[in-house]
């Protein structure tokens, strides 16, 4: 069923792309003014994995296929999405074949061919290149041209979900002719190419001022003669989220401001000016509280927060983990910090709908202080004179850490108050985001070190398939001194049954079965209390009321269909 939908959506989108255009002419709507509060540093997403660079470059360079706002794959520079049914994906799952559209041209007028696709793979996998998107090409053994418009990808081992290389804004095709002398260690030296890549997209870079402003002009060789409606784009960067939202919603100086990460009530007052609107879309971002399954006691020295330190004295009790989740009122957290751009959730894989579980919603989504108190009473945690529960000399008093961000600090306060109601105390701490997420093995404040009892942040996965993401909770992915504190299993959760199920998922090709397995894995993490999922976070951006054709998308770049954007007359 899912496959059929995918196919239908693909065909529909292809029709929409080739169908009669709503706008008669290219470049009739003037200048589109975009504001990014984080300025763009380069136009080459392979040299900088930052979201802002990926977004800005997606205006110019394009992947073979994209994901639309409903989470369905859409053929972009190809005629169709390869599947098992149409023979595009081999039965042994070891290879797939993409058929390129024959009439696509680069903005310099030359033909877009299979050689460019092959080159892109070689560029990102070249040694010493430090390609930021190397993970997209993981498991790819070879990319070859069957003919100038057919590309065959061979995988090292069967790949049940092969839509990663050349799919999505993280792995767009770059022009072989332009980048041929920029492979490997020579990549950073090609400043002109990195700042102005030649693309197949609806716009071309005219002027690039790093960390400041980019000027684009409509691509004269774009495959749809009637698009884009705008003649040019000015993309300004810098400042902060609130003033960027103000420039669209209140002063109307800009048409589109990316990522309006601002408190809901502030946005409400700006909206009163009537110059703009907010668009929200939901991807896979989940704000969660990770529970430390190992002992973070400072007295343990180097061993703290590793398996050698032994289990966490309080959090090893499943009753405590469950009670901490029950005590939280997710609705209040959403209302205070996220508004319409957040939904309460109990899943670590909250979307797409096909893989989002509802199994734990019944007990987990509603706050239950009484139930939580009873759970702790029954488990033998008794309140002391200070109102804090303890058992065998272990107090339910936790160090609660997160990154510095006003919404996170407000959430910390709320959760602390909720936990106080069940006799759990929390000491709040926050570290600057560049340190917290920086991963410096010498710093004690990184989220990988987890020198705290509970830890709050957001994570997500690219695209719509959660396999790689769910593999983050494997036993051998724990950060520790042995792997230089690298590893994504932050809670140090370890369950052989979970590992086995992930192994099964990596061998399953049937989409419905994959969804079933993903749900099981997701439920396991929530039920066992590897973490407490809090909020399913959406992407929120502000747009001028006069801007039409926007289809806000969390699965791909927000500007994925910028060729269709136009100004209301």
């Amino acid at each position: 069923m899912h496959k059929l939908k995918l196919l239908l959506a693909g065909t529909a989108a292809a029709l929409a792309l080739s169908g009669p255009a709503a706008h008669a002419e290219r470049g009739t709507d003037g200048d589109l003014k975009i504001l990014f509060w984080q300025a763009v540093s380069t136009m080459n997403p392979y040299l900088s994995g930052g979201t802002k660079e990926v977004l800005a470059s997606s205006i110019v360079i394009e992947p073979l296929a994209r994901t639309d706002e409903k989470g369905e794959l859409v053929p972009w520079l190809v005629t169709e999405i390869p599947t098992l049914e149409n023979g595009g994906v081999a039965k042994d799952l070891l290879s797939m074949t993409w058929k390129l559209k024959p009439d696509v041209k680069w903005s310099d007028g030359t033909d877009f061919t299979a050689e460019d696709v092959i080159f892109t793979w070689k560029y990102c996998t070249a040694p010493d290149g430090g390609c930021a998107q190397a993970a997209q090409y993981e498991g790819v053994k070879n990319v070859e041209a069957i003919d100038p418009h057919t590309v065959k990808i061979t995988f090292e081992e069967p790949k049940p979900y092969p839509y990663s290389a050349f799919v999505g804004p993280q792995s767009p095709i770059i022009q072989a002719a332009q980048f041929k002398d920029c492979v490997g260690a020579k990549a950073p030296g090609c400043t002109a190419a990195n700042f102005g890549p030649i693309g197949t997209g609806s716009f071309v870079v005219k002027d690039f001022k790093p960390n400041d402003v980019i000027t684009f002009a409509a691509n004269p060789n774009y495959r749809d003669a009637a698009k884009p409606a705008f003649a040019s784009i000015t993309l300004k960067g810098g400042g902060d989220a609130a003033s960027a939202a103000r420039a669209v919603l209140e002063t109307g100086e800009y048409d589109y401001a990316w990522n309006a990460q601002v408190e809901p009530e502030v946005l409400q007052t700006m909206m009163a000016a009537g110059k703009g609107r907010l668009e929200i879309s939901f991807g896979t971002q989940t704000e969660r509280i990770n529970l430390n399954w190992t002992n973070p006691d400072p007295a343990l020295g180097d061993k703290r927060s590793t398996t050698e330190a032994g289990p966490h004295p309080a959090l090893k009790d499943p009753a405590v983990r469950r009670a901490l989740s029950l005590a939280i009122d997710r609705d209040i957290i959403v209302e205070a910090g996220y508004g319409q751009s957040g939904k309460p959730t109990c899943n670590i894989v909250p979307a797409p709908e096909a893989v989002a579980s509802t199994k734990n919603d019944s007990w987990c989504l509603k706050q239950d202080i009484e139930g939580a108190n009873k759970l702790l009473d029954d488990a033998g945690w008794v309140k002391g004179g200070d109102g804090i529960r303890a058992k065998d000399g272990v107090k339910l008093s936790f160090l609660y850490s997160t990154s510095t961000n006003s919404v996170r600090q407000a959430t910390q306060e709320l959760v602390k108050a909720m936990w106080a109601e069940i006799g759990v105390d929390a000491e709040l701490r926050n570290a600057s985001a560049s340190v917290f997420f920086g991963g410096d093995p010498a710093s004690p404040d990184t989220f990988q070190k987890f020198y705290a009892d509970v830890l709050m942040y957001t994570n997500n996965f690219d695209g719509t398939d959660p396999e790689k993401y769910l593999a983050e909770w494997l036993c051998d992915k724990m950060p520790g001194p042995k792997n230089g504190w690298q590893g994504q299993n932050i809670p140090r959760y370890c369950n052989p049954a979970y590992d086995k199920l992930v192994g099964e998922l990596s061998k399953t090709a049937d989409l419905e079965k994959r969804a079933e397995l993903s749900k099981q894995l997701n439920d396991m993490l929530t039920e066992e209390g590897a973490h407490i999922p809090l909020v399913h976070r959406g992407d929120q951006s502000s747009f001028a009321v006069t801007l039409e054709g926007v289809r806000m998308n969390s699965w791909d770049s927000q500007v994925w269909n910028i060729a269709d954007w136009s100004r209301k007359k």
Binding site: A185, V213, G239, V435, G484
Partner: protein, 336 residues
């Protein structure tokens, strides 16, 4: 005086080397990472490769020596090449590359310098022009209403931070009155009268914010210095001789009072180059201050290192200029 200047310049070399080492060591010890801003979807192995491609897998001293070589040998040679058209070696030299943009740091600085000099420099000039008359009148009519108001305004201007005055001006003049833009358009080219007006308009708010701040500071200095001189014996002598009050004030007192003020102004010039980090950020002026703060946020070590070091050079240089100026202006000061 000349040998003194030479001696000072000579001593500046070890000072600057030590400064560059301290900056490098501090940045190395700081717990930040160039891959810290990347989405968590980028796995640790890839981050490790990115770090290696930036040269972070090299030991500390090798990286420091590489920077010294790039900054003191390669960059000057490049500048010389582009100025003279001569070719040294094969022209393939490792330049100081920014980690975020992967482009030469010097090019970034050259691109940013004009905006900073225009906005921050102009604010400095305006600040001085406003400050001197206010300081003079305040001192001459000490404790008058003008002095009280002047003191109050300078205290406010000095103590209210620019991130507050900047946003306040945006709310009043951009959001409410809609007279001036709140975002600086760095693509604007002044070609005719209309674009000239647009340029003035977009510079008005940031220049006003910074001029207020600079003027407050300098006005206090002028006032204090004038008060010192007004009570000197030579002023009484001049008045007793029957010199006109205007001449006493503007020729005798003002000239003497400006000696310390000139040094203060000279010492403040490096801050013009380092930009106004906060004001540039608030108005999105793409100057050096904004460049520095984005570099700090993104842990772009080569860019921070180079910018901070250039500021250090300017500070050392203008300290020397201030000392020399002092000697030139005040005949009582002799260095030799």
């Amino acid at each position: 005086m000349f040998t003194y200047t030479l001696r000072r310049l000579f001593f500046a070399i070890p000072t600057l080397l030590i400064i560059s080492f301290v900056i490098f060591a501090l940045l190395d010890l700081a717990p930040n990472d160039p891959t810290g801003d990347l989405p968590l979807t980028i796995p640790p192995e890839v981050r490790e490769q990115i770090r290696a491609s930036l040269g972070l897998d090299q030991p500390f001293f090798i990286r420091y020596l590489a920077w010294l070589n790039q900054f003191f040998v390669n960059e000057p040679l490049n500048i010389l090449e582009s100025l003279t058209g001569w070719q040294f070696g094969d022209g393939e030299r490792m330049r100081v590359l920014s980690w975020a943009t992967r482009s030469p740091v010097v090019d970034l600085i050259v691109q940013r310098l004009p905006q900073t000099l225009w906005v921050v420099g102009l604010a400095y000039v305006f600040g001085i022009l406003i400050a001197i008359p206010i300081g003079v009148i305040s001192a001459y009519k000490q404790y008058s209403i003008f002095d009280q108001i002047g003191t109050f305004v300078s205290m406010v201007g000095y103590s209210v931070p620019t991130f507050f005055t900047g946003v306040l001006l945006i709310v009043i003049f951009s959001s409410y009155l809609q007279w001036f833009p709140s975002v600086y358009d760095t693509n604007l080219r002044v070609t005719d009268f209309a674009t000239f007006v647009a340029q003035i308009k977009q510079m008005a708010l940031p220049v006003a914010v910074l001029a207020l701040y600079n003027a407050s500071q300098i006005a206090r200095f002028v006032r204090a210095s004038m008060l010192d001189n007004l009570h000197q014996d030579y002023v009484r002598t001049a008045r007793a001789k029957g010199v006109k009050e205007k001449v006493v004030l503007l020729v005798h007192v003002l000239r003497n009072s400006l000696i310390p003020v000139v040094t203060v102004i000279a010492l403040g010039v490096p801050t013009v180059f380092s930009g106004a980090i906060i004001t540039e950020q608030v108005f999105r002026v793409n100057g050096l201050g904004q460049l520095l703060i984005t570099a700090v946020q993104g842990a772009d070590i080569p860019l921070i290192q180079t910018l901070t070091f250039i500021f250090a050079v300017l500070i050392v240089l203008f300290n020397l200029i201030a000392d020399v100026l002092y000697g030139l202006l005040d005949p009582r000061i002799r260095y030799d």
